[in-house]
Amino acid sequence: MSETTISQQEVAHVASLAKLAFNDSDLKQFTTQLDSILNIFETLGEVNTEDVEPTYSVTENVNHLREDVADNWHQKQALLKNAPLEAADLIKVPAILDGEGE
């Protein structure tokens, strides 16, 4: 492997954004693995993409929209059954602090 494309700090940062905690040996392992994956993408750099619009969607579809009509699929009970914990029709999760969300 010639040069690394991702540093251990970057992996730690992405892990913390994903609310994951790794020990040092995990971090090292994931850095090496992510690095190999990113190096595969690096081969794209060999293609000349000047004046080529970025591809955001692989279909030619535009304006694939739905009319504003409400339709309740009544999946609540099944969905709640799949929640780790539920109480009074609410999803029960470990306490979260206010303001951490968006």
Partner: protein, 479 residues
């Protein structure tokens, strides 16, 4: 406004829930107040493999807001994912537009408390998803209701053109009215349908660089926004005067103390790892689509006020009261269209109808009053069929859904204006009261009052007082 030697710069990001029938990316109903998680499906729960399809109605509502705020509607929109982890959004990303906002370069002309008008520029507007609602228990758990998850929002980002807490308040109030009159949302503060993220910085007068911004998120009361800004303006000035520096931080407004509390210091920009949404098709908006939406856009409050004053002869203040909500203004228009006298209709809506709504703590739409019934009662008054006194009973009846004409007939609330009948009563009363005629000729005005009393008794209160008065004076003159 200035605090000491500093000037204040405020920017606002306002989120308004749009009252579409269904959610932005799933057909689940958008409806406040239902049982927890009732309006959710696999898409709202962020299950893998679901293929969301965007709601055309939400795009059109967003276009309405953009048009009302004089923004340019983007000809091309694609969606982006804004990634974050929080249980109120199980997808772990919000679908939004970061690169191609629906609207750009808008403005709102805000009338300030001193009467001056200030143009606040609107940088951009996005259509995006709202998150669910968390309730924090005292048992070490939080409880999540995803009914709100996926409700379409329009986010309105102002330029930092606002210079004081009072200006921020005026902007929010007038932005709310502008949105209200697009018909996309009732913007009910108490239901969290309109929330503001606020940022504020101060800098020494004449400084060309903005100070460091402090941010406060998700405030759902205009008063709280103003109080938070008043507190921050002062706090930041004190820090700077003491030689300190303002940290880039997120604070929270605390109503009981009317102060702000540090939540977290920000190191660098938020890292949301935006990337293009691969599951949704881009949207192309052409001029004919914009024209179609523009045609559906209700008239603004300002336009309506001008019409009421110039076409209907309504006082400016009354016109303002009538345009406080779109529902009231539409109701007024319909009442006038149904043939009611414009001034009388305005007086009833502003007076008796508003009082009824306040007394019963309900909205106009929740009463049983219809524009046709209100117009019907007003026409009965105008025609002299019922007196304004009798109208009080009719009013109570139409407020509970009765037809005014049928009610008046059924209860004998009919004013008698036929001169032949009135003349018969007048002649009888005058013949029986020669003394009163003498008193009248002797200049005693009280005498007519007595005679009218007798006539009202005789007619069981049904004589048209205007016509009867006139005829009585004529008959007295003949004697």
């Amino acid at each position: 406004m200035a605090t000491g030697n500093f000037e204040t710069t405020i920017g606002l990001e306002v989120h308004v829930e749009m009252q579409t029938n269904s959610k932005l990316m799933s057909p689940s109903p958008v409806h406040y107040g239902d049982k927890p998680n009732e309006n959710t499906n696999v898409i709202d729960f962020g299950y893998p493999g679901v293929l969301p399809v965007a709601n055309k109605g939400a795009i059109e509502f967003g276009m309405r807001a953009a048009l009302a705020l004089h923004a340019t509607v983007s000809p091309f929109i694609r969606w982006d994912r804004k990634n974050y982890f929080y249980p109120d959004n199980p997808k772990a990303y919000q679908t939004t537009q970061s690169q191609t906002p629906l609207g750009t370069n808008g403005y709102l002309d805000v009338t300030l408390p001193d009467g001056n008008v200030k143009r606040v520029r609107i940088k951009e507007m996005h259509v995006e998803e709202d998150a669910g609602k968390n309730t924090h228990g005292t048992d070490g758990y939080s409880y999540v209701d995803l009914n709100r998850q996926g409700t379409p929002l329009i986010e309105i980002v102002s330029e930092p053109d606002i210079a004081s807490p009072d200006e921020a308040y005026a902007y929010l109030e007038q932005l709310r009215q502008a949105i209200l009159f697009t018909g996309i949302s009732e913007a009910k503060m108490q239901e969290g349908q309109m929330r503001a993220d606020v940022n504020i910085s101060i800098r020494p007068f004449g400084s060309s660089e903005y100070g460091t911004k402090v941010e406060m998120k998700n405030i759902n009361s205009f008063n709280y926004v103003r109080n938070a800004l008043i507190f921050e303006e002062k706090r930041q000035a004190e820090v700077l005067r003491a030689g300190g520096i303002i940290q880039q931080e997120t604070r929270r407004y605390n109503e009981p103390t009317k102060s702000t509390i540090l939540m977290r210091v920000k190191e660098g920009a938020d890292d949301y790892r935006y990337f293009p949404e691969p599951d949704l098709a881009p949207i192309v908006i052409d001029q004919s689509w914009i024209n179609k939406v523009a045609n559906e856009l209700p008239k603004s409050a300002g336009e309506r006020q001008n019409e009421y004053v110039s076409d209907f002869g309504i006082a400016a203040y009354d016109a303002e009261v009538l345009t406080q909500t779109l529902a009231m203004s539409d109701f007024y228009d319909a009442t006038v269209a149904a043939g009611a006298d414009a001034k009388r209709a305005a007086n009833y809506l502003i007076g008796d109808v508003n009082a009824f709504m306040n007394k019963h703590q309900i909205e106009l739409q929740e009463t049983q009053l219809t524009p046709e019934h209100l117009a019907g009662m007003i026409k009965l008054i105008e025609a002299g069929t019922i007196s304004t006194k009798q109208a009080k009973q009719v009013f109570e009846a139409i407020m509970v859904g009765e037809d005014p004409e049928a009610f008046a007939k059924k209860n004998g609330l009919v004013q008698i204006s036929d001169p032949a009948i009135l003349l018969g009563w007048i002649t009888e009363v005058l013949d029986n009261n020669p003394q009163s005629i003498e008193d009248f000729k002797g200049g005693k005005d009280r005498a007519t009052g007595y005679l009218i009393g007798q006539l009202m008794k005789m007619s069981k209160g049904q004589a048209n007082p205007g016509i009867m008065n006139k005829m009585l004076l004529e008959e007295l003159a003949k004697r």
